[in-house]
Subunit: 197 residues, 2 copies
DNA sequence: TCCACCATGTAACTGGTTACATGATTAC
DNA sequence: GTAATCATGTAACCAGTTACATGGTGGA
């Protein structure tokens, strides 16, 4: 069973936090600062169907409280496993090459599913990968700066600065995680049908 | 005639710099630090066909120099106009919401097609848009920080830091553009058949 | 001769976009 | 009653991905 599209993992992660309907998930994308994702019904509902076809989630209609019928999705054990597998993946250089969106998404949901200790390890790996990647970009720049046109050089420098700011952020995030006591991680909590909303 | 996909504009901009074959363009994406774009033949060749169908580029086979036949693409007047229209578009907040990739792409090719003076204006607009956008993110963070889970808050802060580094970069880029004398801009130069490679 | 690279293309699949359709419930 | 919002879905379209196919050319 191969990779899911990013949206699929984002959905798994959100459903892991709380069993949700398609509408809930759309709101989550539209309202929170997770702006990156689609939130259009034409993306969410088919994606949920695909996840269900792969038995990563299961949707059950809930007619509670006089509302219109909503189909609440729950993670299956397979789904939980798939989510963890994704979160626990080693961080490759390629995860940085087109921006660190996927890495950040993983970070955002990692604590809950894998615990603070693992998250700290991830942050350190992230920091090291960024350091290496920045070094590569720097040497590319040093070798080509003179023969590059000014706007191209500046655009590259903008990218490098962006990665540098992310590198600084990893240190900041690690500090925040050190201050925060390592509480027993919540991955133990199983979401069962019944704790609706 | 509506928007092209980003890849289309990237191709127009590269072809504007130098008439190129599909292979040249693939190399440009694969080798230079423009890593963001596809470079796969299944993306480039169909995209070129679409551009040609819209009469934005014209491909002519060139059998020069004993090499295998290559189809060199040139910008048409329509293509030149479309490129400029895209480059000259006002910068909206939405151009920042999912990362500034398109804005940076425009910047990278703007000088050549619209001149240094316009590029300076663009950079100032970019700076101001970033400032406003960062202010919005900051106030969102201030209002929600306490009720956000730690990883979510940190992820948002990472994003804010990234935009801030871009803001700093605009100042840096403007300085670079001020030092550089405003030479008569190269948009005058027309690429004609004959300066092949 | 054979390999590496130049160069172009095609086909099947995938998933996301926009736009539309539908209907239930709540608040005024 | 009617407007806003909750809630789910569908269809047509579009472009990008992977994988494959093909053949020319130059150098070992």
């Amino acid at each position: 069973m191969s990779d899911l599209p990013l949206l699929g993992y984002a959905l798994l992660a959100l459903i892991d936090q709380k069993p949700s309907s398609g509408y809930d998930l759309r709101k989550a994308f539209a309202e929170t600062a997770m702006g990156n994702y689609s939130s259009s019904p034409g993306a969410i509902y088919p994606a949920l169907e695909r996840l269900e076809a792969q038995r990563l989630v299961r949707g059950v209609v809930s007619k509670s409280a006089g509302l219109r019928r909503r189909r609440l999705y729950y993670l299956t054990l397979r789904g939980k496993a798939e989510l963890k597998k994704w979160l626990a993946r080693p961080l490759e250089e390629i995860d940085l090459m087109r921006g660190a969106g996927e890495a950040m998404l993983r970070f955002a949901f990692m604590d809950r599913a894998l615990g603070a200790t693992y998250t700290r390890v991830f942050l350190r790996n992230f920091r090291d990968a960024l350091k290496a990647y920045i070094a590569g970009l720097d040497s590319y720049l040093a070798q080509n700066a003179t023969r590059m046109p000014l706007p191209g050089r500046l655009a590259l420098e903008c990218g490098i600065r962006g990665y540098r700011s992310m590198y600084d952020w990893t240190a900041y995030a690690l500090r925040a995680y050190r201050q925060q006591p390592t509480k027993p991680h919540s991955a133990v909590r199983k979401s069962k049908p019944g704790d609706s909303r």
